[in-house]
Every structure is written in C-alpha cells, then in structure tokens.
C-alpha cells in the first residue's frame, strides 16, 4: 500500500485497562483504505479488546490514546475524527455505517427472535432511512450477494433455521449493509467447520474487493492470515511486537514470539508402524451404532420419541502402541464414538477392549476402566473446581489401588505430574492447589496425569488440544508423542484438526454424519484420498 495516502485509520498509543489492569499497553498501527490487516495473537493478548475499543464497545474500560478515522461520511469524510474522544452520539453514527463489525459466534450475535431479513433491513432503515419495502428489497439483495441461495426465502428464516456458515454469511450481509469503509472481523471463521471456513474467507475477500473496504481481521489462525491479509501485526500480552507485509513477516520473522507462532505447526514425531502388526487390536469395534432419542414433531411427539442415529455401523481398531485418528466436522459423531468406546453411552454392535466388553456393573468393569482412560477437550470443565490437584490426580488410585497408603499415593501423584511436565519443585504447594490457579495448558497436563496415574494402555483423546493456543497445543502434542514412545500407549485421537492428525496418527478414520467415509493408514488416506469429502477437508488446511 502506498504510504503517501492518508491512512483510513491511524491508531496511536492505544491503551485499554480494566480497573487498573492494563490489557492493551500502548499500540500503534494504521490501515490504508482498501487494505487487509490481520491482528494475530493468542488468547489474552488483547486483540479482541483492541477491535472493540475502536468503536468504544468495551464496557467498564478506560481508554487512552488516539484512533484517527478518515472515513466518516457525515462531514464529507476527509477530515479525520478521533474515535477515542468524539461524542457518543456522533460515534453512533459511525458504528455500523462507516465501521462495521462481525463477530466470532454468529448464533449469539444474531437476535434469535427476528428473521435475518428483518435484522438486515433494520440496519438499512436506521442508517439510510429508506422505506420499509425498499429496505426489505435491499436486504434480500445483500443476502444474495453473500452467496446464500434462495435469498428471498432465507430472508424470512430465523437464525436457528440456518446452518453455521449461512449465519455467518447473514452476519456479513448485515455488516456490509451500509457499505462501510472499514470492517472489523473478530475471528470470523473460528466457530465454523473447516470446510466452511474457506468459503467464508473467499466471500470476505471477494466482497472486500468489490466494495473496496479495508478489513481489520482479528485471528489466531496463521493459515488464514497467510491466505487473506496484506499486512500482519502480531500481538503479545497487549503489545504489538512485530508488524509488516504478510509475506515478509512469514518469510523472515524478527521477533522471537512471531518465530514461535509461525513455528507452532505440530511436527510428526512418532514411532512409525512397521510391517502390519500381528498383535491383536486393543480396542475393536464392529458395527458400532448409537441412537439418541429425539422428540417427534407435532402430535406424535406426545406419545413417543424418534431415534437419531449419531453413529452408524462404525468399524475401527486401535492397535498397540499406535494412534487411531478420527477426524470429522462437528456433528459427525466423532465424540459419540469416544463416549461409546469408553462405555459411557449405550450402543449397539460389538465392542471389545482387550477382549472384554462393557457390562453396566461398575465393579465388573473396573479392570477395563483402568486400561482405558480419557482426556477431554475443555480443560476448564474437565477438572472439578472444588478438589485439589492431589485429590483429582489421586482419584483413580483410590478406585483401582485402594491398598496404597496416603504417602504411597502421594508419591505416585507427584510422579504422574512430573511425567506430564508439572514439577512440584517449581510450583509451591502444588498438590494442595485448586484447578483455577492453572493455565489452560497446565490443566490439560493435569488431566493427562489423572489418566496416566492408573497406568492405562489406551487413552481416548477427545479433541485434546482444540481449546488451547497454538503454541501450547504444540507442547501438549509433543508430550503425548513422548508418552507414546516411552510407554507404548495407544491413542484413540478425536479431532477436527488435520494438522493434529498429520502429526499424531498411524491410522485415520474420516467421519461424516455418523458414518465412516474413508479409513486406512495415514499415508494412504492423506496422500491419496479416494473420497471427495476427505479431499475438501484436506484442502481446507493447505
């Protein structure tokens, strides 16, 4: 972008603090008209707060610095106004008309009680003062522009009647209703499935060209930045540590944090499967099916419930010392598969874990429980908030090794924690602490320690890294790889992230709508996919 033009938005020394706690610590950046700037950082780096504070939408925060915006249309638009100091009423005129915003989760950003057509028409009516009929017509055209088919019919749909991708398209249509000069996009694709992400990104790119607007994209996803942005600014702990043209930053990162971020793609470091292993599989499922009861529509729902097949005729095997990767989008039944293998759901079909099957008796299942353990996705809900770390990790020992004395148990807990990289030497009073005192990555390590302490042979990993930041994700995957090499553990790894599968799995299952669409060794499936769906899935992360 030419540096002679006046920037559309020029931010200088922006500081945001909440009650003495400064989260944005004086950042400078500018966006030229029609430029795509990406603001990258991990959770807690202050990137979302930065975007929200540009429109002064953060509550209870004290702002300082300046943000001169040259695109305000009300006074001819050429004299820049300072968004930080202008009166609230004037700012309201800019919001939605000159600067628009789209949010991460379209389900909560749209009002569930109005049709999307009405919601878009409302903006047009408010900002442009057109007649209601005219507004509705423009709204339908905007919806059609975002690539939603049958726009006139979809305009009469409520948010819950649309798919995630359609909702995000509707949000974009709403944001673009007044042809803004600047679009703030806060993680616009994070909540969407990988195959939809690409489409939304393409849409944003084409609309940006068509409208000639500038985009400030907030994201943690470097793939997305590479595909989309002209320039990138990297944020760490409230400061911009590096900014520059995207290609230059990626090719030659200067700041160590940028290096770390770019380097955070997980690496494959597992013992490869040699010749077809003769050993019997540890987990063997044949024709596995799970049905959920769902209410029937209308009158029939009074008397009975319908069945929704979340899992249909799934066959899979987890081999000793290897990882079976299960990949699929949300709703594909992959988490249901995990719960069924763990015996936490009633299922049909055949399932053996080390040649035993689940009964519904806790005592009878005890040995199986010990060999098969689980790590869940969300480290914030997977640890009971009112138990200490010692109680959480030691729980399995109480069940499976009740003969241990308190001291022996404590020793095993400390060992298990040390195994996952949480040393009591570094953390005073580690055992007596509560989960809220640990970061997401640490909690996930504690969850792994809880599973390991009973010395299982198979770990079910249900999206073990998707709630973590990329750099932490890499560390946790390295830990899992090391544990597999050292202990010969087998993993059933459930994820939506192709990179994670690529780094970890020996065999892969691709799932869609409760069914396996493709399966086999990773080399076959990923290098020569035979199924169209697998191909789109793989393409989306390239």
């Amino acid at each position: 972008m030419s540096s002679f033009r006046t920037p559309l938005l020029d931010v200088k020394g922006l500081r945001v603090s909440f009650g003495g706690n400064e989260v944005v610590k004086g950042i400078d950046f500018s966006i030229a008209p029609g430029e795509k700037l990406a603001l990258v950082g991990e959770s807690g780096s202050g990137k979302t707060v930065t975007a929200l504070s540009l429109l002064r939408l953060v509550t209870n925060a004290s702002l300082s610095g300046s943000a001169r915006f040259a695109g305000a249309r009300m006074d001819g638009g050429q004299t820049p106004v300072d968004l930080m100091t202008m009166p609230e009423q004037a700012l309201r005129g800019i919001r939605g008309r000159d600067i628009a915003m789209i949010f991460q989760e379209p389900m909560t950003a749209l009002n569930p009680l109005f049709t999307i057509g009405d919601q878009i028409a409302e903006i047009i009516q408010l900002k442009q003062g057109l007649a209601p009929v005219e507004c509705a017509r423009v709204a339908i055209k905007l919806i059609a522009d975002t690539g939603i088919s049958e726009a006139a019919r979809r305009a009469r749909s409520y948010p819950h009647q649309l798919s995630g991708g359609q909702r995000q398209r509707a949000m974009i249509a709403m944001a673009l209703a007044c042809k803004p000069k600047l679009l703030l996009a806060d993680e616009p694709t994070t909540a969407l499935d990988v195959t939809v992400r690409g489409q939304i990104l393409d849409l944003l790119t084409s609309l940006q060209k068509e409208y000639g607007m500038a985009v400030l994209m907030i994201t943690h996803d470097l793939n997305l930045v590479r595909q989309f942005a002209d320039r990138v600014a990297v944020m760490e702990k409230g400061l911009i540590v590096e900014q520059g043209p995207t290609a230059a930053v990626f090719a030659n990162p200067q700041h160590p944090y940028t290096v770390k971020l770019i380097d955070s793609k997980p690496l494959r470091d597992v013992a490869e499967a040699l010749a077809p292993t003769p050993a019997a599989p540890l987990v063997d499922a044949k024709g596995l099916g799970v049905n959920y009861p769902v209410p029937l529509p209308g009158f029939r729902g009074w008397f009975g419930k319908g069945q929704f097949a979340a899992l249909k005729q799934v066959n899979c095997q987890v081999k000793p010392g290897q990882t079976l990767g299960v990949i699929g989008e949300s709703g594909s039944g992959k988490s249901t598969l995990a719960l069924a293998v763990l015996g936490l759901l009633t299922f049909s079909g055949e399932l053996t874990v080390m040649e035993k099957t689940w009964s519904s008796n806790t005592q009878q299942d005890k040995d199986m429980r010990r060999t098969l353990q689980v790590v869940f996705q969300d480290p914030f809900s997977s640890l009971s908030p009112r138990l200490t770390i010692e109680e959480i990790v030691g729980e399995g020992l109480l069940v499976h090794f009740p003969e241990l004395s308190t001291d022996q148990r404590r020793e095993k807990v400390v060992d298990a924690l040390a195994d996952v990289g949480i040393e009591s030497a570094q953390l005073q009073g580690l055992l007596a602490r509560y989960p809220h005192e640990f970061s997401g990555g640490q909690r996930q390590r504690i969850a792994i320690a809880r599973a390991l302490v009973v010395q299982p042979q198979v770990l079910v990993l249900d999206e073990p890294t998707s709630a973590l930041d990329v750099t932490i994700q890499k560390q946790v995957l390295q830990l899992l790889q090391r544990l597999q090499r050292d202990r010969g553990l087998s993993y059933l790894l459930i994820t939506h992230d192709v990179d994670v599968i690529r780094a970890m799995a020996h065999d892969v299952i691709v799932m869609k709508d409760g069914e396996i669409v493709e399966s086999g060794p990773i080399s076959t499936v990923f290098d020569a996919p035979s199924n169209d769906y697998t191909r789109t899935l793989l393409k989306s992360t390239e």
């Binding site: 936490l344 996705q377 009971s384 908030p385 009112r386 499976h400 509560y434 969850a447 560390q475």
Partner: protein, 351 residues
C-alpha cells in the same frame, strides 16, 4: 510454560474460601452476619437476661439458686408452700433486709410472668418497671420479644435445615438419575405443591394438639420443593460436565460421583438461598401465629404479639416494638443474603 516457573507467594484457597473472602469484603453483609449471630447467641442465654427468678439469693446466711431450683415461699418468710413469686413486694422487702441480697437478671420478668403489681392497667405503657410496657395480660413486652425472637430463629433454623436436607436429597436423586426417575418425581412434586398448605394446617391444628414440633413437620413437608428444583437443575447441568465423565471413565461409583464431584459444585444456590429461606421461615411462623394457627397458646411469639397489637391499637408500644424486632431480623437476613449472592456469583472476580 513460562508461567510454570513463576514463584507464587499466596497460599492456595479453595473456591469456598475465596467466596468467604469476597463475602467478608462486603461490609454490610459481613456485619449483618456478625450482629445476627450475636443476637442469636444472646437469645440462647435469654434466661440470664430476662427472668423473673433471681440468679442467686443470699438469705439469712444461706445461698439459694432460684433459677435452677424451686423454693417455697416459706423459705423467705412467706405464708404459703407455693413457689416463691420474687416480684412480690413483700418478698422483695425480705430479700433486701440486712445481709440478704438477690441478684436478678437485667430484665426481671420471664416470658410468662404476669406483673400483678404493675402500677398501670394492662396493657401498661412503657414504665420504669416494664421498659417496653406490657401486653394485654400484663406480661412484660421486652421479655416476650426476647423469647419470641429466640423461638422464631430456632424454628427458622430447624425449618431451613429440614428443608435443605429434603431439598438436596430429592433434587440430587432427580438430577443425577434423570430419565424416568426424574419424570415421576417431577409429577409427584407438581401434585404435592398443589395441595392447599394453609387448609391442611387448619385441619391438622383442629385434629392434633398444636405444638411446635407438629408445625415444624407440617411446614417441612411443603418447604423443600423450591430448593429441590434448584438442586435438580444444578445436578442436571453438572452431571454431563467433563469432570464427571472423567470420574466415570475412572470407574468411580455413583455414590462417590454424587458426594465428591457433583454435590460440592451444586451447593451454590443452596447456600445463596439460606438467609432468604430463614427469613421466609420466620415470616411463615409469624403469620401463622398471627392467625392463631401457629405455636400453642402461652408460647412467646412475635406473631401473637402482632395480633395483640392489632387488637389493642391504642397500645402502640406492642405493635411498634414487635414490628421493629421483625424488621431488624429480616433486614439482617436480607443483607446477608445479598452479600452471599454476590460472593458466590461466578462472574465476580477476586479483585
């Protein structure tokens, strides 16, 4: 993991300890708790504060303890074998004679003591003898208020306890097992809660001799349903969280999952509602007493005093002082409840 190496100075606090610290920081709520607890403890020793019998009597070289033992009037030079009335001016005179002394409670009237020697007609306005006046039967109002407060608070504590116990147990069963158990229990609660509580109380008070225990049982039968719903909802939410699934995957039994994992995390609404349930119970008892359906006659009670105040509208001191005691009690409980609700609000941070 750079944060791993960060040294920490603060001792680890459990979530409940942190909630307690947040509660303490709310001065209104904290001092309400202190004052309320103080008042309750004081009222537990009501016999030492307000009693028609002296604590110790020294009479002609012998020491007597009338508070714990009955002495006939003859002991102190009276004419009869009946228990001494220490308020009798004659006895008083004997006790004040040379070398004799008696140590009375600060307020020398019990809850049932009739002041036969009042200088004014009943109900007597506040005088030097009866600081808050007397009721229409000549009983000292201050004594009645102290003992009535005690009855109310103890009754409310007992009712809250039984209500919490029943509510938590039934809510836990419904929420944990879900499905058909839940469905059946919910229908039972719907039927049970549609029973007319007041009419049942009237009927039962006609059939059985009224007593505090009967009242407690009857009110307990109906007082658990609201809490049960809250606990059920918390259990339904918590039982599908990952830490419960992880415990199941470890092979932990149902009983341990309930007591160790779900219950401690489901008690927030229970604790939050405790003060409000207490004040509800106090009000319930007061209104039943007011209607004459509550505690047996003769038991000191705030509701009965309010009813007297209504009947003797000129005797402003009866209704005013009873009203004051009720308002202060309920206000303290409400302040505590507000502070507790804030302290347990998960969205509030420690800063």
């Amino acid at each position: 993991m750079s944060s791993l190496t960060k040294p920490t100075q603060v001792a680890s606090l459990s979530p409940s300890q942190r909630a307690w610290q947040r509660f303490r920081r709310n001065r209104l709520g904290y001092w309400s708790l202190v004052i309320f607890c103080g008042l309750v403890v004081l009222s537990l020793f009501a016999e030492l504060i307000s009693n028609e019998r002296p604590m110790i009597v020294r009479y002609e070289g012998t020491t007597y303890f009338p508070m714990v033992k009955d002495y006939p009037e003859k002991t102190f030079g009276g004419d009869f074998d009946t228990t001494t009335d220490y308020l009798d001016p004659f006895i008083r005179e004997r006790l004040a004679k040379d070398g004799n002394w008696a140590l009375f409670a600060p307020n020398p009237y019990g809850p049932k003591t009739l002041n036969y020697f009042a200088k004014e007609p009943n109900p007597s306005r506040p005088t030097r003898d009866n600081l808050f006046g007397t009721d229409d039967r000549g009983r000292d109002l201050l004594a009645q208020l102290i003992y009535g407060f005690r009855v109310s608070v103890l009754f409310a504590l007992a009712l809250t306890f039984t209500g919490v116990l029943l509510g938590v147990i039934t809510g836990a069963i419904q929420g944990f097992f879900g499905g058909k158990t839940d469905l059946a229990f919910q229908r039972f609660i719907e039927i049970w809660s549609s029973m007319p509580e007041l009419y049942l109380l009237i009927i039962f008070s006609a059939v059985f001799a009224p007593s505090i225990a009967l009242l407690l049982i009857l009110l307990s039968l109906f007082g658990w349903m609201g809490l049960s719903d809250y606990v059920r909802a918390e259990f339904l939410r918590n039982r599908q969280l990952d830490y419960v699934r992880a415990a199941r995957a470890l092979g932990v039994g149902n009983w341990h999952i309930i007591t160790r994992h779900i219950l401690p995390n489901s008690l927030t609404p229970v604790v939050t509602f405790l003060p409000f349930r207490m004040s509800g119970a106090i009000l319930a008892l007061t209104s039943l007493d007011f209607l004459g359906l509550g505690v047996p006659p003769g038991t000191p009670s705030l509701g009965e005093l309010l009813s007297q105040g209504k009947n003797n509208i000129d005797a402003w001191w009866i209704s005013l002082s009873t009203f004051g005691v009720l308002v202060i009690t309920l206000l303290l409980l409400t302040f505590m409840g507000d502070a507790l609700r804030d302290a347990l609000d998960p969205r509030k941070s420690d800063t």
